[in-house]
């Protein structure tokens, strides 16, 4: 590998007198630097600037103050050791508050994700239906819920039992959150799912129909499994967004048992007049979202190499 490289480079920098490169070489010589040297200089300048900025931040920042605001040790201890009383049916438990909040965040997000997935699939199929009214309803739904802020939808769902006495979502507050965020995310996910369905080649449906499968069975057994394989990465991105949007739950009047990370952090922040609990809550989000992000990239790379191998 290196051997031909050397000779090629040599040929470029020291052309024989008769070489057509002689003229070019003269131009380069007048400016004093070869392209390779110029690239090197530019790169060195970039490193110098970077190190300079880092050093400036390190030396000008008030580390003591920052530590007091975002990582005060006594507040850290309070945040890690605070407990919440949990009532499950008739039994009562005392559970670590931070752990409970982390679990609640996951339960809210995953529940809403499942509802979004089911409803999104129905919407996608409606949008691809040959029945006009199905398409219109699906289109209106998607436009409506993509246009509304999730916070507004959550607020409305939170108020519904007040507005309609007797109305009660199951597993409150979980049911409320699952339904509100699930309906919002169904709008986004239906577009992704529709793209996935359309990405399955028409020949797949024909092969299935040729085996005698009715249209519905072909969709369920052949099209959807392939569509979901294609859209797993974008759907996982939706799950990441959902984990973050579950923080909007703080707007509902929750009991401590229903606190998720943001609400939990905010309460302790107010009690201690310090940002440490919120910073810790933020870190907990990253513990969930960063691995999911890696998973998405891993899946994308894998499907890229599989497509490349074919």
């Amino acid at each position: 590998m290196t051997q031909p490289d050397h000779s090629a480079a040599a040929a470029l920098t020291t052309p024989s007198p008769s070489s057509p490169l002689t003229g070019l070489d003269a131009v380069a010589a007048r400016k004093g630097m070869s392209p390779r040297q110029k690239t090197l200089v530019v790169r060195i300048v970039q490193y110098v600037v970077f190190v300079g900025v880092v050093l400036a931040v390190v030396f000008t920042a008030n580390w003591h103050q920052l530590g007091q605001v975002f990582a005060r040790s006594d507040v850290l201890r309070i945040t890690f050791t605070s407990t919440t009383d949990v009532t499950l049916g008739t039994s009562k438990h005392v559970i670590n508050g931070l752990l409970l909040a982390l679990c609640n965040t996951i339960v809210y997000s995953v529940g809403a994700f499942i509802i979004g997935l089911l409803l999104g699939t129905v919407l996608a199929l409606m949008k691809l239906s040959s029945v006009g009214p199905y398409r219109w309803v699906a289109t209106i739904y998607v436009e409506l819920f993509r246009g509304l802020p999730a916070l507004v939808v959550l607020l409305i769902f939170g108020m519904l039992p007040v507005a309609f006495p007797g109305l009660q979502f199951p597993l409150d507050p979980y049911g409320t959150v699952w339904l509100a965020l699930g309906m919002v995310y169904a709008a986004y996910m239906s577009e992704t799912i529709r793209a996935g369905i359309q990405a399955v080649p028409k020949g797949q449906i024909e092969a299935a129909r040729t085996l005698g499968m009715p249209a519905g069975m072909a969709t369920r057994r052949i099209v959807l499994p392939q569509a979901f394989r294609i859209i797993t990465p974008p759907l996982t991105n939706d799950l990441v967004s959902l984990v973050k949007d579950s923080s909007l739950v703080y707007i509902l009047g929750l009991t401590a048992q229903g606190f998720e990370l943001t609400k939990f952090g905010r309460n302790l922040q107010n009690a201690n007049a310090n940002l440490t609990p919120i910073a810790l809550a933020g870190l907990c989000y990253l513990v969930i979202t960063v691995p999911l992000g890696f998973l998405v990239r891993h899946m994308e790379n894998k499907s890229a190499t599989r497509a490349g191998a074919r």
Partner: protein
């Protein structure tokens, strides 16, 4: 079951078949009968409507006009349960269309369990039997992406055979294959023909048509131009359109027109000792 009694008469009958896509009339009145056990090859230039005819036989395309009978059942009857009949009509596509999320055996099992209601064990036994038959006993748990084109097409044939088809439709089954893989697929088809399968094969493989077909149909611009025994249609065509087409297919380099050129079956220089 209506009209004629099942089993008697031709396996496939096509009467006055017309098919239009919007303004474009692709099939302009096709009449055709295929007997049980007959091997029919359809040849003709690109765009002449060969695929469309094949796809009208199992109603992947809805005929604009005319009727199709299979095994005595009038498929163009509105009340016919087309899915039930399709389950017994095998079709093999140019692009294989294997299910990529299932391995070879599962590809051959799904139709049996989901449509024919066979048990998993029975479906597996039949799938494996047919995979062995097409020479893939050592590739049964491979996924389509792990198989060569020729192997994929043989799985597709095994998948169709696993449904115990009354007849098999082939739409240019070897056109997407590398030349060295064509032979494997053709020999499987030849075996099928020898076993007495009723087959309609759209193909550009003239040697296969000549050797295996009981009858050859030449189509052009949506009509059957010429038909008869293979030796006659391919060997001594009477219609000018057939002659022109065959000349182009059998002699794609137009060697005779250009003259000069050496015959190409000379061994390449590097094979000389």
């Amino acid at each position: 079951m209506s009209e004629t009694t099942a089993g008697a008469g031709p396996m496939i009958r096509v009467d006055g078949l017309h098919k239009s896509f919007g303004e474009l009339e692709v099939l302009k009145g096709i009449d055709l009968a295929v007997d049980p056990g007959e091997v029919l090859c359809i040849i003709g230039p690109s765009g002449s409507g060969k695929s469309t005819l094949l796809r009208c036989i199992n109603l992947l395309e809805q005929p604009t006009e005319g009727d199709v009978w299979v095994h005595g059942i009038k498929l163009t009857d509105q009340d016919v349960d087309i899915d039930r009949v399709r389950a017994h009509m095998g079709m093999v596509f140019q692009s294989f269309n294997l299910f990529p999320h299932l391995n070879a055996t599962q590809n051959c099992m799904l139709g049996q369990t989901a449509v024919l209601g066979r048990s998993k064990a029975e479906a597996k036994r039949i799938a494996e039997h047919n995979l062995v038959k097409v020479g893939l006993f050592d590739r049964m748990d491979y996924f389509p992406a792990q198989l060569s084109g020729g192997q994929q097409q043989r799985v597709a044939i095994a998948r169709a055979l696993s449904m115990d088809p009354l007849l098999m439709l082939f739409d240019e089954p070897t056109s997407a294959l590398d030349p060295e893989l064509v032979g494997d697929v053709l020999s499987v088809m030849r075996q099928l023909a020898d076993d007495g399968m009723t087959m309609v094969v759209v193909t550009h493989e003239m040697a296969f048509a000549r050797d295996v077909a009981d009858r050859v149909i030449f189509m052009d611009e949506g009509v059957i131009v010429e038909q008869g025994p293979a030796a006659q249609v391919i060997g001594a065509p009477t219609q000018e359109r057939t002659q022109v087409f065959l000349q182009r297919v059998l002699d794609p380099t137009h060697v005779r027109e250009i003259g000069e050129l050496e015959p190409i079956d000379v061994a390449p220089a590097w094979t000389h000792a």
